[in-house]
Symmetry: D2
Subunit: 337 residues, 4 copies
Amino acid sequence: MMIIIMSPTATKENLKKVQDKILKEGLRYHLSKGELRTIVGVIGDKKIISGLQMKAFEGVEKTVQITEKYKLVSREFKPEDTIVNIGGVLVGGGNLGIMAGPCAVESMEQLLESAEAVKARGANFLRGGAFKPRTSPYDFQGLAREGLEMLKAAGEKTGLKVVTEIVDMNALDLISEYADVLQIGARNMQNFELLKAVGRSQKPVLLKRGMSATISEWLNAAEYILSEGNYNVILCERGIRTYETFTRNTLDLSAVAAVKELSHLPIIVDPSHGTGRWQMVRPMARAAIAAGADGLMIEVHPHPEIALSDGDQSLTPENFSLVMKDVQNMMQVMGRE
Amino acid sequence: MMIIIMSPTATKENLKKVQDKILKEGLRYHLSKGELRTIVGVIGDKKIISGLQMKAFEGVEKTVQITEKYKLVSREFKPEDTIVNIGGVLVGGGNLGIMAGPCAVESMEQLLESAEAVKARGANFLRGGAFKPRTSPYDFQGLAREGLEMLKAAGEKTGLKVVTEIVDMNALDLISEYADVLQIGARNMQNFELLKAVGRSQKPVLLKRGMSATISEWLNAAEYILSEGNYNVILCERGIRTYETFTRNTLDLSAVAAVKELSHLPIIVDPSHGTGRWQMVRPMARAAIAAGADGLMIEVHPHPEIALSDGDQSLTPENFSLVMKDVQNMMQVMGRE
Amino acid sequence: MMIIIMSPTATKENLKKVQDKILKEGLRYHLSKGELRTIVGVIGDKKIISGLQMKAFEGVEKTVQITEKYKLVSREFKPEDTIVNIGGVLVGGGNLGIMAGPCAVESMEQLLESAEAVKARGANFLRGGAFKPRTSPYDFQGLAREGLEMLKAAGEKTGLKVVTEIVDMNALDLISEYADVLQIGARNMQNFELLKAVGRSQKPVLLKRGMSATISEWLNAAEYILSEGNYNVILCERGIRTYETFTRNTLDLSAVAAVKELSHLPIIVDPSHGTGRWQMVRPMARAAIAAGADGLMIEVHPHPEIALSDGDQSLTPENFSLVMKDVQNMMQVMGRE
Amino acid sequence: MMIIIMSPTATKENLKKVQDKILKEGLRYHLSKGELRTIVGVIGDKKIISGLQMKAFEGVEKTVQITEKYKLVSREFKPEDTIVNIGGVLVGGGNLGIMAGPCAVESMEQLLESAEAVKARGANFLRGGAFKPRTSPYDFQGLAREGLEMLKAAGEKTGLKVVTEIVDMNALDLISEYADVLQIGARNMQNFELLKAVGRSQKPVLLKRGMSATISEWLNAAEYILSEGNYNVILCERGIRTYETFTRNTLDLSAVAAVKELSHLPIIVDPSHGTGRWQMVRPMARAAIAAGADGLMIEVHPHPEIALSDGDQSLTPENFSLVMKDVQNMMQVMGRE
C-alpha cells in the first residue's frame, strides 16, 4: 500500500491524472479530503505499487510506502521461527550457532590450533576467510583454494561446521565443495548477482548486514536469496557506520529485536567487527545473547599479535573461554523466561 | 601529547618554525625523521597543547591529539568505580539505579499511579519531566513548578528519589528544592553554561549523551561538571542519531563498555528513548544490564495511549514488571562472574 | 494532518478506540479500507494532532505526520523572501551578508587588523567570539565583556556590523549593547530557553544548524524565535556530522536549496566550520553562492598559525581576497538568470 | 608510516616485543619518550606496515596510520590532472563530461527521445541502465542485452558516448561491446572482484562513491582498478547516507575539493541521486561546477511521471535546458580565474 499526499495547491486536474495513472496500472484507490490536502491511498499488487513514480506528477507533495516490499522473509508470511539445519547443527529457534576462528586462514597450523581451541570451549562452527575483501589492493587477500582445503580439513578433524566468505559468484561451486555455510560479507550485501547465485544453491547462507544498510534493505537482500529458492539464511549484525570513532563500527543490538519482530530468520551477532576492540567483545557478546540473538561470530586467534588481519579485535583462546562461560550463564536466564 | 606529521615537501625552515612555536609555548618535542616525513611529538602541559593550532603552519600535513583532554572523569585519574549516593540510594559499583515513570508529569493522579506502580515493581527512582524541551514550540512544554510539586509529593509518598530535567540555569535553585537528581537532556549536553551551573551545585546530576555526541565529547561534558567541584555525575546512554529510521535512535550499548574502560563514573541506559518503540524496551533493557550498565531509565505510563508525550515508547506497568524480572535474573548471572 | 495505518490484525474494537480518541480530541478523520489494512487520516488543529500518541493504541502499526509543525517560518505562510535589515545592511532577497573575522577575539590589535583586512576586501560584517563554547573546559573560553568592547570598537572604526555568539540567556542585555547580530551556535540550536530569550528581543539573530539537526528541526528551532515575536532571523548552514573524517563536518549545500523551498528566511553558509580545512574554504564558498546562499561566514585571521582557536580553518587576508573575487564573479552569473 | 602510542603503564618488556616485531618484519622505527608515554614511529614498506596488527600487543594504547595505502591514484604520484579520453571526448583538466539520460532504458522510443533531447542541449554522454541493481527483487531489473542494443543505437544516432552500469563481472565482454564507459554503481564500490575485472579491461570506468564510503575508501577502490592496469577512471560523487531524510542522500560537494587535493583523477557529480528531488538538481548542478567538478551526471526523462525507475528525481528536457545554461555561465566564471 502507498499513500499519496497531494499538495494544498494541487488542482482537480492534477488529482485526476493521479487517479487515472493508478487505474491504468490495474490498482485501486481511496480518497480522503482534508481541509488543505487530499490523500490518496493506493491498493493492489505490491510489485506494481513499488514501481509507481508518483512524485513526478504535478501536485504530488509526498508519497509514503506503507508496506515493505519483502515477503518471504517476513514474520507475517511465516510466523514461526526458522531453524536452519547445517548438517545436523541447528541455528535458530533457541539453538545457538557459535562461529569462531581466525579472521583469515594463514596456515594449517594456525587454523588447526584455533579450531581445536574454539571447539574445546564450545563453538560449533569454524570461521575463517580464504578470500578476504580488503579496502586496499595491497592488503593480504587470502590463501584462496589452499585456504579452503585447510578449512575443510580442520572442520573434519574437529567436527566443526565450516563458514567462509564468498566474494565472487564464479567461485560458488568451488567454495560449496569445502564449506558448510556461505558467508556474504557486509560489502557485498547489495551485490545482487551474488545474492541470486547463492539463492540458486541450497547451501546455508550467512548474510552480514551492510555497513550502512537499513534493516529494511537487509531484509530485502535476504529476500533476493529466498526468492530464488534458498530458505536457509542466517542474518548477522556486525555493526553499522556512524560518526563515532572510538569503536570501529557501532554494534546495533536493537537490530536483533527488530529482526525478531519483522522476520522469522535467525540472527547472530559479530561483536569482533562490531566493535573492533577485543576488550569489548565479551560484554557485547553477553548483551547480544541477552537481546535475543541466535548465536555469535567471534574472531579467535591463538596469537592475535601476529595475525595477518584484524588482530586488534581477535580474542585469545583464554578470553574466548570467558565469553563462552558468560554465554552459558546467559542462556540459563533466557531459558527461564 | 600531540603528534605533528610534516609533509614530504616540508622545508627545514617550515620545521624550524614549528619547533620554535613549541618551545615558545613552554612545551618540549621529540623528532623522528623517516624517509619521507618528519614527525614531531609534542610534550608538556595538556591545556597548552590542546590550544595549539599547528595545521595552520606551512609544511604541516596532519596533527593527531594522542591524549584526551578530560582528566577528572578518567579511569586513569581514579581507577575505582564511583558510587553516587542519592540520599542513601547508591548507583554505581554494582548498585543499580532503576529510574521509571512517565515522560512528562501531567497530573497528580497520573503521576502517583505511575510512581506506585514502578515502586511496587522494584524501581528506586521516579522520573518525570516538569520542563520538557520539545522540537516544536507548539508541543506540550510541561507543567513547570506545579509539576515539580507533584514530583516531590509523589516521591515522598512512595519513598522514590526524584529525577527531573533542568533546561534553564536560572531554575537551578527552584528545581533543586524539589528534585534529588538533576537531569541534563541530550539537547543540552553541550550547553556549557548549564553544565557549569550544575557543577557549582552539589546535587547529583544525570548527564544524557547528546544526539550525535562522541564518547569523548560526552566525557568532556562531564568534565565541565566535575571541574566545578561536583563529582556526583551519572552518565546515561539514550541512543545516537544514525541513518536507520526503524528505531527512533540507535541505542549504542558498546558505549557502556567504552565508558567503563575510560571512566570511573556510573552509566545507565535509557532503552525507551533509545529505541522509541515500547516493544523493544524489554530486550534492550536486558542487553544493557548484560553489557554492564549501572541502571536503567524507562518510561512507564499507566495509560500510554493517552500520554501527552512519548506514549509510543512508554511501557504499561504490566510490561515494566516483565522487564524488572529480567533485570533480576540478569543480575544473578552478572554477580556470578 | 496525520495518517494512522492500522495493522492487518487490528480488530473492529481497536479501530473504534482510535476513532473515539480522535473525536474526543476535537479532531476529525477519514477512513480508507484496503484489503489488508485500514488507514485513518486525521484532520484538525495542528497543535492537537502533533500531541497525539496513537502508536500506543493496540492495532496501530504506524503513524505518519504529514504536515510540518512550524508555521511562521514557512514559505506557505509568507511566499516572498525575507530581507533582514541590520542597521541599514540588508541580508536576503539578493543581498549578500559577508561575515568575516577571527574565530575568537584575542586582542584589540588582532581584531582591528582582521576587521580592516576583511572590510577592505568586501565584507560587511565582522565576526568574532567573545564567549566561546568549547568541547573541553580547559580550552580558551573567550575574553567575555572585554572582547565585546573590542568588537564594538572595531565595528565602529571600520563601519562593519558586528556578529557575535550568545551562549547564556543572562548575557542577552550585555551582548545586545555591543553586537548587531546575536549568533546562536550549533551546540545551542535546541537550547529552547535561549531561543525564546532572543525571540523576545528584536535584535537580528543568526541561527546555526545543529551538528546533527534535520532541516525540519532547524526550522522548528527558528519557529521558537519567530513565535516570540522576533522575525529577524538568518539561518546558517555549517556542516553536519557524518561518518566522513577527512573534513571536520560535511557541508550540506543541498540544505540551501531545501531551505529556499521550505522557508522565506535568508540562509548563509559557513565553509570554515563546514570543512575545517582552509584549503577547502574557497571552492566551497563558490559552491555555496552558486547553490543560492544569501551570504557567507568565513574565518579570517591575520596570522592563522598563532590563532588561539580554529587556526586550522582560518584564511589569511590574501586568501580571503581570492574568495571575494570568486564571489563577485559568481554573483554576476547568478544575476544573469 | 605508522605511529604506535604505548600506554602509560607499558613495561620495558612490552616495548621490547613491539620493537622486535617491527625489526622482524624488515621495518625500522624511531622512539620518542614523553613523560607518560613512549611513541614509536614505524618506517618502511607501505604494504608490510599496512598489515601490522600492533594493537593486539600488550602495552599498545593506540595506533595511527599516517600514510594512505593508495598510491597510483594519488596526486603525489602524478601531480598533473588526468584527462580521460573516451573515443575523442575528453573528461578532466577543464573538459566537462555531461552525462544525461533516463535512469533505466525502457524502450527504443523513450531512449531515443531522451538522447536527442539531451544532445540538443549540450550533453556529450548518454546514460541509461540496462542492468539495474534494485533494493527489492520485485522491482524492475532492466532490459539487459536488449537495453544495451538500444543504447548503442541511440548513441550512434546522436553521436553521444554511452555510459551504462555493469553489475556482474561475467557480463564484462557483453557490455564492453555496446558501451563506451563502464559504470560501477554505489552498491558495488567495494565489489573488489568486479573492480579487478574492469581493471583488466581498458574501457574507461565511472566509479561511483559508495553509499557510506569515506574518500579514502573510494580512492582505494579506484586503486584496485589502476593497479590492474586501467588508468581511465572517472570518479562520481552521488551523495552519502546521513541522518537527514528530506533529501534521498546528502550530496557531499566538499568531496570534489578533497579529491582534487588528493588525486589526479577527474571527478563528476550526480545531483539527481544526490538529492532525489528534481527541484534541487539545478542549484546543486551549479554548485558542483562551482566546486570544481569535471562534469555532471543527470537523469533526464521525456516523461518523468511514467518512468519505470527514479521518476521523482528526473528532469524534463526543458528543465535540463536551464541546467545547461547555468553550467555554461558558470564555466565562463571558472575560466576567468
